[in-house]
């Protein structure tokens, strides 16, 4: 199969405009005849469901949460980028585009990223119109902060709760449409399979989590906005329920999965405290505006950080990357912290931590100013660690945070399955091998508010879909396969909880496919995951019934998919014989330890095509061509 990116021709700046003109439209009276299913109600899902229904499409939206207000977008703290240039500091659409392409280590599509930068300015306008309370100056104008990988201030924020406020804006727009009867909302309902008829996506099989009832929902197009797969590592900053199941079902039905090995390890998270821990907590990147990262110069220095004199501290980011300093991009900052800890200079009980110190900023600006900027984050930190960051530096360590890889989509956000569209973190499209801070919210909302509402019309206007009913053999087969899978999980009646398998999988992934990878670690990981998978299907314990609210069953169903995904991630990491962004192969590094790309062999997207249970997946390649930027070794020095 060939991957057709469908990037419009013409100059970069005009591609989206001319594409919008060239796309087919559906007339207003006909829109209500089309039924679109949206799975997920985070930023991408809620914004797309609301907007498509405003346009007149008949929309159904499915979430496994009890309300569309709870998706993990809500936890995004720091902000959202937009090329508004309100600060008059030299920002522009082109600069946001360039920073994002470079930040992604030249592994994203130019055309998509440029469109993202163009949409960014509309997002801020749209959100303010909805009443999102972004931070403001006394004069009433919007204010900005800086984020990693950029030398301009273009990040808009609502205290440390930007994701929450943006999501509530989209959620309220969605609830308005639900109230009008324009969107049918299915809460506590999880997609368990994708329905294809004659090779085209025509609906989903879903499980009502209250009753366990499995049912099929048909439509003219399906939109997945189901988030990322960072929880394959068990410990991540993702919410506990975030999972890959919807995307994985789509993969097994034929949607190619792109760049699975591109995962983002965020440098500033609260270090793990023990084996009981169920998740890791992020400390927003915005803290690096005023916090300085350091570690003791001496190995095994266990003195109180306040007793370590200035001369015996290593401000490693400022030392290694003087021009970006503490605002070096995430992949680079994470590796630098790991390096320090590997040298035995890590702090805290486990030695896996470095300091993020606010003493200088507090001296310069005062407690009040710092508390106004980061109060809720400081409080969150103190609650978890029992340490006061106003008095002593925070201890931080990198943790899995985001996944750049995801379902492959073309410029219209359609996967390799006709009719199946994928938005937000669930697709692979805009961040290359590393995402810059404050760009996830931007992408989710650009996809949902501004891209899919237009491109879906182009698809529907030309699709010529035959009517399908629930008794179609392909539909019935998908539904009964979902039933069988649930029964099978219940009937294993083994000895181990799904969580214990998930923890083991996470450890393999973190140790062997985490911040540093190599041929040996990846080969071992593939074997270990294979063995774990085998044990899972004979020894997992799922008490209770499949015809009931059963959280153990929900977990087991998701963990089973994570194991298969983990294997594919390792395979992808193994095949990509270069280092780029978050993908760091120890065999490929520059003499000073930076990622060494191989543009001749790997300036491409790798998308994996499923070939059945007992066959290896095929690695499809979409070459990346760069017309507007020059490929260079990324430098933040």
């Amino acid at each position: 199969m060939e991957l057709k990116s469908k990037i419009p021709s013409g100059p970069l700046e005009q591609k989206w405009d001319s594409h919008r003109f060239n796309m087919k439209l559906v007339n207003p009276a006909n829109k209500r005849k089309y039924h679109v299913i949206v799975v997920g109600a985070g930023l991408a899902g809620a914004s797309s469901a609301a907007t498509m229904s405003e346009l007149g499409y008949n929309v159904s939206c499915f979430v496994y949460h009890d309300s569309p207000r709870r998706a993990h977008s809500i936890a995004a703290q720091g902000g959202i980028n937009a090329a508004k240039n309100y600060q008059n500091d030299g920002d522009s659409i082109k600069r946001l585009f360039y920073d994002t392409i470079k930040g992604g280590d030249f592994r994203a599509r130019e055309a998509n990223v440029y469109r993202l930068a163009q949409c960014s300015v509309n997002i801020i306008d749209q959100c303010v119109a909805q009443g999102v309370p972004f931070a403001r100056e006394y004069g009433g104008l919007l204010t900005n902060r800086s984020f990693g990988g950029a030398q301009v201030s273009r990040t808009f924020y609502a205290r440390g709760q930007t994701g929450q406020q943006l999501l509530l804006g989209a959620y309220q727009a969605l609830e308005k449409q639900i109230g009008k009867g324009a969107v049918t909302m299915h809460t506590l309902t999880e997609m368990v399979d994708l329905v294809l008829v004659d090779g085209v996506a025509r609906g989903i099989v879903a499980r009502d989590l209250r009753t366990g009832k499995i049912s099929t929902h048909l439509a003219d197009a399906v939109v997945l906005a189901t988030g990322g797969y960072g929880n394959v590592f068990f410990l991540s900053t993702n919410a506990k329920q975030s999972n890959v199941t919807a995307s994985w079902r789509a993969y097994k039905r034929g949607a190619a999965f792109a760049n699975p090995c591109f995962t983002q390890i965020h440098p500033t998270c609260i270090p793990q405290a023990g084996d009981h821990q169920s998740k890791l907590t992020l400390m927003s990147e915005s803290l690096r505006n005023d916090g300085r990262c350091w570690a003791p110069l001496k190995k095994g220095d266990t003195r109180n950080p306040r007793d370590i004199p200035e001369a015996e501290r290593d401000y490693f980011l400022e030392r290694k990357y003087p021009s970006f300093g503490n605002l070096a991009p995430r992949d680079i900052a994470s590796r630098a912290a790991k390096e320090v800890c590997d040298e035995g200079r890590g702090v805290g009980e486990t030695g896996l931590g470095v300091y993020l110190d606010f003493a200088d900023s507090i001296k310069r600006l005062g407690d009040t100013a710092i508390s106004e900027r980061y109060g809720n984050l400081f409080e969150m930190y103190e609650r978890i660690t029992d340490e006061d960051p106003y008095q002593q530096p925070m201890r931080i360590y990198p943790a899995v945070h985001y996944t750049m890889g995801g379902t492959w989509v073309d410029y219209n956000l359609m996967s390799t399955i006709p009719g199946l569209h994928v938005l937000g973190e669930a697709n692979f499209s805009d961040h290359g091998a590393n995402r810059l801070g404050a760009s996830a919210l931007m992408q989710g909302l650009a996809d949902g508010y501004f891209v899919i509402p237009v491109t879906i019309g182009d698809y529907l206007a030309q699709a010529r879909l035959a009517p399908v009913t629930l008794d179609h053999p392909e539909v019935r087969a998908a539904e009964s396969a979902a039933h069988d899978r649930m029964r099978r999980l219940i009937n294993i009646k083994g000895k181990r909880s799904a969580d214990s398998f998930h923890r083991d999988l996470g450890k393999v992934m973190w140790d062997k496919c985490g911040m540093a990878r190599n041929t040996e670690s990846l080969t071992t990981a593939i074997q270990e995951i294979g063995a774990l998978k085998e044990e899972f299907w004979t020894n997992v314990s799922v008490p209770g019934s499949d015809a009931d609210l059963n959280q153990a069953l929900e977990k087991a169903n998701r963990v089973a998919d994570f194991m298969e995904l983990g294997e594919l991630m390792c395979r992808d990491a193994l095949e990509r014989e270069e280092s780029c962004g978050g993908h760091f192969r120890t065999e490929y590094q520059t003499p000073d330890g930076e990622a060494l790309r191989n543009d001749d062999a790997f300036a491409h997207v790798a998308a994996w095509q499923y070939n059945g249970e007992n066959a290896s997946p095929s690695r499809l390649v979409e070459p990346l061509t760069f017309e507007s930027v020059q490929l260079s070794q990324r430098s933040y020095k």
Partner: protein, 257 residues
């Protein structure tokens, strides 16, 4: 640390529930309250017994999923924290802890500690939004909003929709939740055109969902993990009175052009 848990178990909305006793053994003091339940559940699952069902997701106090009465207090003993932000070091070793679901007629129990909070969504549907269909918004900086107004709107907008306010209220009132959304939008210039329609519709919906009336006990703001002030209830009441006093019949004469 070791604890004795008395946990509310209920198979579904229709059946009766009861408190069951579980031993939580060898719990690290750094564990969060939910991680403590995870450990108890892991043992139950290994024994082939049904784990305790509870709502949770982000585990950092922002998604609003977790919802437990801990010894009769919504979200437990830590002020300004959701259940997931309570750590076991707050309790005494050997303590007996009673865990129940939210108590309110408007939040029926789905299973064990999980309740149905869809009434909150329906209150938002009735008017908790600014009508601004996507596209055509003017430049964000054309709307000037003073920092103080903007900050007050943000204080109200911080609500996570967990339902602790309702669970803590002796009347089972949803006034803190509803007032928070009304205040958030009423404090902003963008919220003015729909301001009085909104308050009327949302208050009516609150009644329809069988939430009780507010008699200003103030228990809600004590329980609120985001410490939203009952000032938002005053704002709601004020706007409701203005809406009632200034209401005019809607003129609906439009014709095809």
């Amino acid at each position: 640390m070791n604890f004795t848990l008395k946990v509310w178990r209920q198979a579904n909305t229709a059946s009766a529930g009861r408190l069951e006793t579980y031993a939580a053994k060898a719990i690290p003091s750094d564990a969060s309250f939910l991680e403590m339940i995870d450990l108890v559940n892991m043992h139950l699952e290994e024994e082939g017994k049904e784990p305790i069902a509870f709502a949770h997701d982000c585990r950092e106090g922002i998604c609003g999923s977790c919802s437990m009465m801990i010894d009769g207090v919504a979200h437990g003993p830590v002020k300004g924290a959701a259940t997931c932000q309570v750590h076991m070091r707050t309790f005494t070793d050997g303590q007996e802890i009673t865990i129940e679901p939210w108590r309110s007629v408007a939040f029926p129990v789905l299973k064990d500690l999980i309740t149905d909070r869809s009434a909150f969504d329906r209150i938002i549907q009735s008017g908790g939004f600014i009508s601004a269909p996507t596209g055509g918004a003017r430049d964000a900086n054309e709307i000037l909003i003073g920092k103080l107004e903007s900050d007050s709107a943000m204080d109200a907008a911080a609500c996570i929709g967990c339902g602790a306010c309702v669970a803590a209220c002796p009347n089972g009132s949803a006034s803190l939740f509803t007032g928070a959304k009304i205040s958030h939008l009423a404090l902003l210039p963008q919220g003015q055109p729909e301001r009085y329609r909104r308050v009327e519709a949302m208050v009516a919906q609150m009644d329809e969902e069988h939430f009780g009336h507010c008699t200003l006990y103030g228990e809600c703001q004590e329980a609120c993990p985001k410490q939203i002030s009952i000032d938002v209830i005053s704002q709601m009441n004020r706007d409701f009175i203005v809406a009632a006093a200034t209401k005019r019949p809607q003129v609906t004469s439009a014709g095809a052009g």
